[in-house]
Amino acid sequence: MKQFINNRKNNGGWIKIVAGIFLLLLFIFVLNLFSSPIRNIFYSLTLPIQKVFNDSGKNTASLFSSILNIKNIQEQNEYLNNENQRLLAKMSMMQEYQEENQAVKDILLCSQEEDFKFILTDIIGFDSNYDIITISKGKNDGILENMPVISSQKVLFGRVLKVYNNFSQVMLISNKNSSVDVKIGNMLDENKADTGVLKGLGNLNSYIDLIPNDLEVLPEQTVFTSALEGIFPKGLIIGKINSAEKNDLKPFQKASVDLFLDPKKSDKLFVITNYLKDK
């Protein structure tokens, strides 16, 4: 009799556990069924608090980093002063090439700027674990997945990963899943520029792979988009070459890149809305 009661108690416990698991799965299923509106409502309701914490985080971090890097700033300042003088000297030497270069530049700028429509947006969140930022514009503003996101200085940040009604998530080019066709070298004469594929390393770092081994990649060379993958327009600035890693046994070389993007210092970004549609 006692065993019978125990068995019944055990059965009751198992039924509770199974029912609990079933309810949990149902709960998760419903959440995923309405994933987009749930996330959108959550973001819309908490946006003011999120903005407050995001802005204060950004400001506090930049304050700390400037205190911690005061020595570096002094060194950087000195380096920039020297660089400035060097560039001024170079500029006067290059004056004669200005006219012919201007024509090429104009064509490039026309193809880049005049046809594109931008949407101005704020960064409302940055996930440093996965190199994803959240921006304040979404489906309601005409944003679609894979649209390129740039800064006012035409620095490429990444592409729109997920779109919700009132906000979007942007995958930075430093994200490990990101892969962008790039050119290295002279922006004004693309024939002189080397090609490669920029791959994300996470934590705001990237490197360029698949650079042909016979090409010479030098530090400080500019890296910009080549538009081969069809997501990003050509000529968007990405960063500077830090160092190149050449191995004669391999057909391609790699190069580490100092990216210009910095979500911690940028507030406003632009989404190019018509590049994908045109494609």
Binding site: I28, Q50, F53, G57, K58, I124, G125, D127, N177
Partner: protein, 171 residues
Amino acid sequence: MSFKIIFFTIFFFILAIIQARFLTYFSIWGSNLNLVFISFFVYIFFNNKRSSVQYIVNQNIYFALLIGFLLDCFSALPFGVNVISYLIIGFFIKKMQYNLAEKSDNLPISYFVLLFIITFIFNELFLALSFYIFNDIYFVNLNWFLLISFLYNLIIACFIFYVFKKLQIKK
């Protein structure tokens, strides 16, 4: 609903926003402080007195669901990943505590550190596996980043443990 539940609901809500929007700017070598995980762990670890077992279990389930939901809202993963992870962690801590409690003092630091190591690594691996399965972003760093992240979080967790322990002794 008791005052304690309401207080901790608001507390975890604000903490989730702080973690997603504030602490993300203070990473050390790419590792972030997982304050929500630490707080949930400490809450579950110390939530074992003056109530019936069923009441504690219900509370733990409620907070695991709440925290999981909040973290899933900020995550690029489908809903449910953090919910399941936190539910498993909550059950595991309680189960281990009931098994270990008979042997010695109820809340020694050694149990705390041991359980923290197991649950933290489980949480990281579970998230990494989820990212891999859903192939949304990438397989999370499971190299020295995990070690730094683990040490960073463990130090803060131990500090919070001593604060809670002192508060408990005072009570």
